[in-house]
């Protein structure tokens, strides 16, 4: 399917080696990196709990010819993505493991280094690029400080969290992050990651990557339920939350269930000002990749209409292995007005890009 201007809401830029961050660390933390190094909540410091379907979870053709990790070379990203499709804006989500550090202050220093590295090597080098603020989200006061600091650069358009947090994201401990995001006028994104401490399911550790990857859809729903019923959107009415890489077919079912149970059990959360589905449709936005692929491709359009025409924002997930091609991801004809919203307009509204 042809497309006009495209906003790609999920692209991964990568730090090829820790040493690339050294120029952005103080002597204190350079020494820490060299002598101590990464200590993550997950026991797998150099890999994943589950081997991915492809090396570095990336398209096999995305390794830059000049070396380095997929997503580390802007010039090659231009060839494969930014110039290959009519990309007006691309939102970078750098998954460097700063937020996962057990050492809170080191995590904060790494997050700041990643953000400064993004400014110099990405935001200042291509005006189509925007980026997410990396924050040590398990230490929300430090995360809030980094949001205040980094958001001074206009290239940052959202705050980046992962779905498998220590506790559900609606809890009071995370509120300083939302407060800072609202102060900066930024949405908070929750992007799939399988390296954080908790299992992806509510019932423990699964056996296989295929379970881990499927289970992301469940983890995202748990976070949405938590955000709504803990009153985050009542307390922070300006807050927008972007969900990345957790699917979207579950939205109608979750909305029905939330409202039905709220009608019966709402007395437990009497401060909620609206029906739960109202928060879902007003405050939540969802990126499309990995595109839902119903058995009958034509079922996708009615599904999207039920999810809500304003909720979805197209994403490729470049350079990851399950990349969605902007021309081929919809395996059915999507009506032009709906297509335009998903490929472009919804993201412009969410990120306040000039249309």
């Amino acid at each position: 399917m042809q497309t006009g201007g495209l906003i790609d809401c999920d692209v991964h830029n990568a730090v090829s080696a820790d040493a690339e961050l050294l120029p952005y660390l103080s002597a204190r933390w350079r020494r820490h990196m060299e002598l101590v190094g990464s200590r993550t909540f997950s026991p797998f410091t150099k890999g994943y709990a589950y081997p991915k379907a492809a090396r570095f979870a990336s398209r096999r053709d995305a390794w830059p010819p000049g070396g380095g990790l997929p997503g580390s070379d802007l010039e090659f990203m231009r060839v494969q993505l930014l110039d290959a499709y009519p990309v007006e804006r691309a939102v970078l989500n750098c998954l460097f493991r700063a937020p996962e550090q057990r050492h809170d202050a080191y995590g904060a220093a790494l997050a700041a280094a990643v953000n400064d590295w993004q400014v110099e090597h990405w935001l200042e080098r291509d005006d189509r690029l925007r980026a997410s603020v990396t924050v040590p989200f398990e230490f929300p006061d430090l995360a809030a400080s980094e949001i205040d600091r980094a958001s001074a650069h206009p290239g940052f358009v959202q705050v980046l969290l992962y779905p498998r947090t220590m506790a559900p994201l609606g809890g009071r401990r995370y509120w300083p992050i939302y407060e800072a995001a609202c102060r900066a006028g930024l949405p908070v994104a929750v992007h799939a990651a399988s390296t954080t401490a908790g299992p992806t399911t509510a019932t423990g550790w699964p056996s296989y990557y295929i379970e881990d990857h499927t289970g992301l859809a469940v983890a995202f729903q748990a976070q949405v339920i938590s955000l709504i019923f803990n009153g985050v959107f009542d307390r922070f009415p300006e807050l927008r939350v972007v969900l990345s890489e957790g699917g979207f077919a579950w939205v109608p079912a979750l909305a029905h269930r939330l409202d039905a149970l709220h009608a019966r059990l709402g007395e437990e959360v009497p401060d909620l000002r609206h029906a739960p589905s109202h928060y879902l449709r007003t405050h939540i936005r969802i990126t499309t990749q990995p595109m839902e692929e119903p058995e009958r491709p034509g079922d996708l359009v009615p599904l999207i209409r039920e999810v809500g025409a304003d909720l979805l924002m197209f994403s490729t997930d470049y350079p990851h292995w399950d990349f969605d091609d902007p021309y081929r991801a919809f395996r059915t004809r999507v009506p032009a007005d709906l297509h335009q919203r998903i490929m472009h307009d919804n993201a412009c509204a969410t990120y306040r890009f000039a249309a």
Binding site: A53, R59, R60, D61, W321, D322, D325, Y327
Partner: protein, 121 residues
């Protein structure tokens, strides 16, 4: 030997070693030509799923298991795995491993006149 369609010389014999491949452009169509050792095959270099450059993928074999604990790794080098979503295709037929009747990639006849490798498009 004759085959339908227009004949296009894509390589000289010996240029593509057994187990090797060459990706060629035929009137704007990218086509992968593979030497399987006992002959050549040619496939459209576009995955039917999302359009990835299929013929740049890894070649592997097929694992079959008649009963628990017993497995056979067969047809080494004849199964092509897409570089994006890892869908696998049988080089000899162009049919996908997972859904061979419905998911296929265009497959072109290949002949040789003794000196050239010729794809019929």
């Amino acid at each position: 030997m004759t085959a339908p369609g227009r004949a296009v010389v894509v390589a000289v014999v010996g240029e593509i070693p057994a187990g090797g491949r060459k990706i060629v452009d035929i009137d704007g169509r990218s086509v992968g030509v593979f030497n399987l050792g006992d002959g050549f095959v040619a496939l459209r270099n576009t995955c039917p799923h999302e359009g990835a450059p299929l013929c740049e993928g890894v070649l592997s074999g097929a694992l079959t298991s008649p009963t628990p604990g017993v497995y056979h790794y067969e047809r080494r080098g004849e199964i092509l795995r897409c570089p994006w979503h890892q869908w696998e295709f049988d080089l000899r037929t162009g049919r996908s491993w997972v859904d061979p009747d419905r998911v296929r990639v265009r497959h072109y006849p290949v002949t040789s006149d003794g000196r050239h490798v010729i794809v019929h498009v």
